[in-house]
Structure formats: C-alpha cells, structure tokens
C-alpha cells in the first residue's frame, strides 16, 4: 500500500508538471513581441516587391490566422491546443513552413540529435566517472592528481571555445575530419552509415570533452568522501583488495548522485543541441528551435519544448521510481 501511494504521488506530480509545462509552453510564445502572421506577410511583401495592396493583405491575414489556428480568443486557442496535444500529440502545421506538420519536422530532426547527444553524453558520463573514481580513490597519490588536472583543465573551457579549437585543430590544421560535413541521403548502405558515423565523430569528441570534465570532478569529490566512510575503512581492515573496495564499496555508493545527474542531462539533450548543431553544421532539433524562436513559429516551439518537458519530467519520474530499488535507505522511508 505504501509503495502504491508512493507511485501514485509521483505519477500525480508528473502529470502536474506536464500540465503546468504545457500551459507555460502555450503562453510563453504569445507573450513574445512577435506576430508570425506579420512575419510571413512581411516576407510575402518582400517577394512581391511591396505590391500587395492593403485589401489583399487583410484577406491574406484572415486566411493565415484561420490556417494557423490563431482565430478566437486566447482561451479558445488554449483549449484547442491542449486537446490536440494531449489526445493526438498533434502540434499542427509550422507557421513559417506551412503546411509542413511540426511533428514531421521534429521526427526528422530527433534521431540526429538523440544519436549524437545521447551517445556523447553516455560516453562522457562513463569515461568521466571511471577517471573520477580512480582520481578520487587514489587521491593521495601524485599520479591521481594528473587525472584530476584533466577535469580541472577541461571543465571551465566554454563549449564554444572548445568546439572551435577542436574544429581548427582536427579539421583545418590536421584535416582529419571535414570542416562542414555533408551527410549522405537516400537509402542507407553500410558505406553511408560509415559516413554518418565519421561525420559525427568531431562533434561527438567535442561533446565528450565538454561533458567529461565535470563528471571527473564530481565523481572524484564523491569518491574521496565515500572512501573515507567507516564501512570502507572496515572493508580495508577485513583485508579486501583495492579493486574490490574501489568498485564494490566506493563506486556503487558514489554512483547514486551521478545517476541522477545522468538522467537529468539525458532529459536536457533536446535543448542542449543548439551550439553543436550551429558550429558543426549538424542536423537536429536545436536549429529548428532557434529558427522557430526568431520567427515566432509557435507550433514548432510548442512541439520542441513540449518534447523537452516530457523528457525531463519522465527522466525525473523514472529516477524517483527506481531510486528505492537502488538505495535501501529511501525504501525504508
């Protein structure tokens, strides 16, 4: 019964977060000083060399508002939006690229973002934790401080500087990777898959380097603190090996906060893509969101941000639900 109540409470919180998130997502773009219909009419005026008459623009404006679902008061639009999103995950057409459905735009971009950022985040997390564990467990040894230095060196470098440096080094001075990759299209073949992998390596390496440092430092701090716990001392007195103490006593206990951090960073993958995609000309959801934000493309913004909210909230829910399984202290509460 306690477990059921715990799960029900977490699920309730989850849906509340989603509801509030969706509502804010609906409201935020409308508070922006941008009108997508104006923007589109402006483009048309430009293409038509300014020859559209005021009557023509009035007609066009009415048509666009109807097509974009911007008719009616705010509440009517909100109800219609919630119905569409909740029941059919339909975000409507893109305003800027009408009649392209938002869901199709996101679905095209998502695999790229997920493929690169998920992989890079997992590699950075795994490598960072391994190095951090060794640096923390052997923190009194000089060699370990070299590992810590790696984290201290990498962590504070702004991502943009790091990315441009890597690009300059590995794509210009030593042109191992392309400066501006061209991703192959059409039917996938092993060769094309290889090209995609090769073209993704440079942004991947940069992302790993950028995420790596923080994981080293945080795991090192956790490992130092954990290795000084009485149960680790007791294990040492029992005669366990360094390896056993490091992996079974320190690592397992230091890992919990890192798992939380991993879950949250996986949730943030959706909106962390922008700079990477801009610098490395990499396809994904970040650039779509940027274009949508500057062009007042509400529906695309809804779609992308909603996805991000769902991902972060779900990651939080999963963590909350599996934590009791990992940590008996929480289970007893």
């Amino acid at each position: 019964m306690g477990v059921l109540r715990y799960v029900a409470k977490r699920l309730g919180l989850y849906f509340a977060v989603l509801f509030i998130g969706l509502t804010i997502t609906f409201m935020l773009p409308r508070l922006m000083p941008i009108n997508p219909v104006d923007g589109y009419i402006g483009q048309l005026q430009s293409r038509a060399n300014g020859t559209l008459t005021s009557d023509a623009i009035a007609e066009l404006r009415a048509n666009l508002e109807e097509l974009y679902g911007l008719n009616g008061d705010l509440f009517t639009q909100y109800v219609s939006y919630m119905k569409r999103v909740v029941f059919s995950l339909d975000f409507g057409p893109s305003f800027t690229y009408y009649p392209q459905p938002v869901s199709a735009m996101i679905l095209n971009a998502l695999p790229w973002t997920l493929g690169l950022l998920l992989t890079a985040t997992l590699i950075a997390w795994t490598l960072g934790n391994m190095v951090g564990l060794v640096a923390g467990y052997f923190h009194k040894k000089k060699a370990a401080s070299v590992l810590e230095f790696l984290g201290i060196l990498l962590y504070p470098i702004p991502y943009y500087i790091l990315a441009v440096t890597v690009l300059l080094l590995l794509a210009y001075i030593f042109p191992i990777f392309p400066l501006s990759p061209t991703f192959p299209v059409g039917q996938m073949t092993p060769e094309k898959i290889g090209m995609i992998f090769y073209n993704s390596l440079l942004p991947g390496i940069t992302l790993v380097l950028a995420g790596f440092g923080w994981n080293i430092l945080s795991m090192k701090a956790l490992a130092v603190a954990t290795s000084e716990e009485p149960y680790v001392t007791y294990a040492r007195l029992k005669g366990t090996s360094n390896w056993t103490r490091m992996t079974r006593y320190v690592f397992r206990n230091a890992l919990l906060p890192q798992v939380t951090a991993l879950a949250l960073s996986l949730g943030m993958v959706f909106n962390g893509a922008l700079l990477t995609e801009m610098i490395f000309s990499y396809p994904g959801i970040g650039l779509i969101m940027r274009t949508a934000a500057t062009g007042g493309d509400y529906n695309v913004l809804y779609g992308a941000i909603t996805l991000s909210i769902v991902a972060v909230a779900t990651a939080g829910l999963v963590i909350d639900l599996i934590y009791p399984l990992l940590d008996p202290r929480i289970r007893t509460k």
Binding site: P33, N35, L44, G50, N108, S180, T182, F183, S281, A293
Partner: protein, 633 residues
C-alpha cells in the same frame, strides 16, 4: 621526437595529404569538383527543404528562383532593363486603360520531365491560385492583381488586371530577385485535386536548365544537375550553362565558412565580415573581393539602409527634430567604426548604384546642393567622400587601395549631410528643445527625452554594428538614445506596428532598382497610414510617409506609363521631397561582400567586370552561370 614517432607522424601527414587531395577531386555529394559550382546558401540551413511547392511557402533559397523556376520576363541586373525569358516578346496592350494584355510564350520550352510548357500550365496555375486562394499561402500577389484571364491557344493567353498595369513585365516577371508567383506543371498538379494545397512537390519538376538531382532532407544542401535538354529549358536561349552541377550548401558559422573557403571547398559566399575576408585572402590568394580597391564590397543591392522615423509621433512630427538627428549623425565616423570605412553614402531614400545614380542622384544633385533648411542653412556636403578618403588615409590605409579622382564619388557616394551638431542645436532650440542639466536634449515641455532606437540583434551583424555606432554618435551630440536590439521576428512587428516604433534602422521602403520606383514607393498611400498609436499592423509604408506631396506624386505616378518622362520625374521628386523633409535618414547602399574563390571557376561578376549583380540568390545569377569559366582544376 624519437624515430618511431617521426615515422608515425610522417605516415599520418602523408595519408592526410593524399586523402585531402583525393577529396578535392570529388565533392562530398559525389560529383567531380571541377564540374561543380558550389555556393554558400543565402539563408544558411533550410528548415523546410522538402517544401518545393511554389504556391505555398517553399525552400526558396536552395536555387529555385535561379535555376529551377522559369519567368515570362527576366531582369538584366547590369542595366536594369527587362528582357523576355519564356515570353515571346513583351506583352501586347489591348486597351487604352492598360489593363488588358495579350502574351505569347516561346514554343518548345519543356519541363524537366520532358513535358512541354504551354498556356495550359499558366491557366492551370492561375485557376489553382484563385480556387484555393484562402488555403494557399503564396498566391496573393497574383489573385489581387489579376481580374480575368483566358487561353487563346497553346502559346498565347490574355489577361486583364484589376488596375492599369504599366509594370506588368516586372509584376508578372522579375523586378530584382525573382517573381512572387511561379508557374506549376499542370500534368503533375492536376491529378492531385484538393491535395494541391498540402502538396510538398519534392523533388520539384522545374523549368530551368537544371533539375534537382538530390537534396538533403536536413536542409544543409541541394544539388542541381544540368539537363541534357537544357536548350529546351526556360532560359536555355541565354547560352550554355557552364557547370554540370551546382551545389547550394550551408558551410555553417562564419568561422567555419572562412576556413572552408581557404580550403577551396566552395566558390562563392554571401555576406562575410571584412575581418574574415581579410583573413581568408591572406591565406589563399584565390579568394577575391568584389572590388580590388576600397570599398571592397558590392553596393548594387536594390535597397539601402536608413533610419526610419515614426513621423506621426511627437517630437518626430517636426522636421527640425528630424534634421537635427541627421546633422548630429557623424556618418563618416559611424561607417569607419562599424564597417571599416567600406560603405557608399546615399542621401536620397534609395541606393546610389550605376543604374539609379544617373536617374535619381544626378537629376537631384543641384537641388541637394542648393537645399536650405531653417534660416537658410545648406545641409548637403559634397565633400563627404573626399574627406572620408582623407580620413582613411590618415588612419593608415594603403594609398594604393584608396580610390582617386572620379572613383572617389563612385566608391563612396556623391555626398551626404554635414556633421554639424551646432546647427542641430539651433534647429532644436527653434522648436523649444534644449539640453537639460544632464547634457541631454529635453522635449519642448522640458521633460526628459529618451529615444528608443530599434536595431537588429546578431541576425544582421552589419546593421547591429551600424545601429550601435549611430546611437553612440547621437549620444555624443546630446541625444539620450537607448539602442534596443531585437530578434528578426520582433523587428518585423516593430516595423509593422505604429505603437511599437519610434526610430528603427531599416531597408524595406528604400528599395528602388531602376526608373520603376513604383514597386516600393507605391506603398506610400493614404490607405497604408494608421493612427500614430495604432496597434493594428501596417500593410506597407513602414517609413510612415504622410507628406501629402509625396502621396500625391505616388498617386499620379501610378497612373502613368513607366517610360513617360513625367513618371520618372515624379520618382525624382518623391526622392527629393523625402530627403528635403528628412522623412527617412537614408544612410548608405547595402554593402554585400560576395567574396569568390577562383580556384575552380573564374569570370565572376566584379566591379570591373559588371555583367550582372553578383548575388547567387537573385534570379539573375543565371547570367553568371552561363558566363563563368572552368579553370580546368
């Protein structure tokens, strides 16, 4: 480094060199580099690459209007003169009111799938536009312009316009960069029925000599291939297109683009900052700017930059205030700090190009010199360019890079307004505006005057830098200016909404390409004026021109044939009237860098080889496509 290390390093460098050399022989999309012209896309990456239906919003910047679509009439951008493309001559006018026309098209033009282009395609395109006018988003320009149309035979049709149309060849053809309404293939679209409104049309069946070979669904690139039957295409009669392939690709952020340019990965760029171009030129002698001497940029865009003033609002409704702002602006200093001195000043509300210069600037030069304001003050400075060159020389610019003689005015303009803050102070004092104890001017009632000046954020870096420099210049002269950077979306809203706009840097009403000023200034109409505090969007006239003299000149001119001397004269008078009342503080021609790399292709349009506007995103790029030459590399 030990012996093993040296061996490994040598092998690695050798392998890389071999790989690079091999990579340069073929492009990333599998075409021979020597047969492929590669251009940086104007808008970067497309978010809608599969949207290729011109009746809706489509991926316009991937080469469609240059290589894909076909026009009845095209524009020679070196001279500003229209010429027939798919039309067989110019339209025959059928009535005195100039509303009825008979148009013939050339026989033997085929779509890229081999089907012949006939008037059936034209009639079908118009039928579709009218039938679905409330569902299609890119047909407004046609349906509000045309009253009726009919097929005469397969190569002849007639149409009637709503109003007298002396500019039919540019309204239904090309004025500058392309046409607003494109023909669609009946044999592809008709079977779709109502689904035509959501049809993506990818890859599109096109009319130009190139057809789409492949495009990246992620929007980074689009590859065009020359049709074997290119002579039957819409502009096959222009000559043989030289590249077998043309690749439009986004090479990413400017840093990456500059590096890729140095590596000869592409041939023509769009906008690149002077710093990046200098860096690229220093590393690769094949990288060239539009002009060999200062200013290096191309200045032939149809539009010019200016400060648009909401003249409907106090205190900007007083010409003294507008003139004070103009005379307080040190354009020379602004241009040097924001653009390294690489700009061409333009005092009239339009660019000063080889086409517009003789029509508008030469005609008004004496009037500008003799113009007086206030108590007889003459504000025009004919020495502006000469002084600018002297300043640049004093700042250490190599004399050999600076123009001399007539080239000074050709490069930097025939003059601009004097920088005279003392005269500005006199003008403001005449309307009761004086500096307060904080050193800033106050409003006539003595209350603080804070100017909100809207400028683009980093989505337009040139204007962003220009805006901040202007604000700085005004602050030095005693104006309390808040330069507010905005996103592209908000910029449009500010432009369109009276209640949101005070002063903004802009270009949308200062686009005049040749003697036909109607295209843009036609917006200066009574119907496009809304109250000063209106929150309703404007439908044009973003410069908020309310001067009855200008409105009357536009009204009269719109009913005149374009080649009527009175029509041209009206345009000249509109330009002078707007400048005399300082209704727009026009600044300069839009500088476009257009650096090229001549490793694989030569004979691009340049200042001293100006056979077409050098923009790869204007439909006139087709002129470059038939004129460039392969180097054989």
């Amino acid at each position: 480094m030990n012996r093993l290390g040296r061996l490994l390093m040598t092998s690695a460098v050798g392998a890389l060199t071999t790989t690079t050399a091999f990579a340069q022989a073929m492009t990333d999309v599998g075409t021979p580099r020597s047969e492929t012209l590669i251009v940086q896309t104007f808008d970067g990456r497309a978010a809608n690459p599969s949207a290729q239906n011109p009746l809706n919003s489509y991926a316009i910047w991937r080469g469609f209007r240059e290589l894909g679509w076909g026009y009845l009439w095209e524009m020679d951008t070196a001279t500003g003169v229209s010429y027939p493309e798919m039309a067989d001559g110019f339209p025959e006018v059928l009535n005195e009111e100039n509303t009825q026309f008979r148009i013939k098209i050339r026989e033997g033009i085929t779509w890229s799938d081999g089907v012949e282009f006939t008037t059936d395609d034209i009639i079908f395109s118009l039928d579709t536009a009218f039938k679905y006018r409330d569902k299609l988003t890119n047909v407004a320009s046609a349906v509000v312009y045309i009253k009726s149309y009919k097929k005469i035979d397969d190569y002849t049709f007639e149409l009637e316009t709503v109003n007298p149309s002396y500019d039919l060849t540019t309204r239904f053809g090309v004025y500058t960069w392309g046409t607003p309404f494109n023909w669609v293939p009946k044999h592809v679209f008709e079977p779709l029925g109502d689904e035509v409104v959501t049809f993506q049309n990818a890859p599109a069946v096109t009319l130009g000599p190139y057809k789409i070979k492949e495009f990246d669904p992620n929007g980074f690139w689009q590859l065009w291939e020359l049709r074997e039957d290119w002579q039957n295409s819409s502009w096959g009669n222009l000559g043989e297109p030289k590249p077998k392939y043309i690749l439009y690709k986004d090479f990413g952020a400017e840093e990456t683009r500059a590096l890729a340019f140095v590596q000869n990965q592409y041939d023509v760029d769009t906008f690149m900052s002077p710093d990046s171009i200098d860096a690229a030129k220093a590393r690769n002698p094949k990288v060239e700017t539009f002009s060999a001497t200062f200013p290096y940029h191309d200045m032939n865009d149809a539009c010019s930059y200016g400060v648009y003033i909401n003249q409907q609002r106090a205190p900007y409704d007083m010409p003294e205030v507008r003139w004070a702002l103009a005379l307080s602006l040190n354009l020379s200093q602004v241009g040097i700090s924001a653009m390294s001195g690489q700009f061409k000043a333009a005092a009239l509300p339009l660019p000063d190009t080889p086409i517009t210069g003789p029509i508008f600037y030469d005609a008004n030069l004496e009037a500008l010199k003799n113009l007086t304001i206030g108590d007889g003050y003459k504000p025009f400075d004919t020495e502006f360019s000469t002084k600018l060159v002297e300043t640049l020389a004093a700042q250490g610019i190599d004399q050999s890079l600076l123009p001399t003689g007539d080239a000074v005015n050709e490069g930097f303009g025939v003059g601009w307004w004097k920088h005279d803050p003392a005269e500005a102070e006199k003008l403001l004092a005449s309307v009761g505006m004086k500096k307060g104890s904080d050193g800033f001017y106050t409003l006539p009632d003595g209350s603080p005057w804070m100017i909100e000046f809207v400028i683009p954020g980093d989505w337009n870096k040139v204007l962003q830098r220009l805006g901040f420099s202007i604000a700085d210049s005004w602050r030095q002269a005693g104006f309390n200016v808040n330069a507010r950077q905005v996103d592209n979306g908000e910029f449009t809203t500010v432009q369109n909404t009276n209640a949101r706009n005070e002063l903004a840097i802009n270009w949308s009403n200062t686009c005049v390409y040749n003697a036909n000023w109607l295209g843009n200034w036609n917006q200066f109409r009574e119907s496009n004026i809304k109250p000063a505090d209106s929150t309703d969007p404007l439908s044009g006239n973003y410069a908020r021109i309310t001067d009855p003299k200008v409105l009357a000149l536009v009204d009269e001119g719109a009913a005149l044939p374009l080649d009527d001397p009175k029509f041209v004269e009206n345009g000249q008078n509109i330009a002078l009237q707007i400048a005399s009342e300082m209704q727009i503080i026009n600044l300069m021609n839009i500088p476009t860098t257009i650096p090229t790399n001549s490793t694989y292709w030569t004979n691009f349009p340049k200042q001293d080889n100006f056979y077409a506007a050098p923009y790869t995103w204007w439909s006139s790029f087709k002129k470059a496509v038939v004129s460039i030459e392969p180097t054989g590399q």
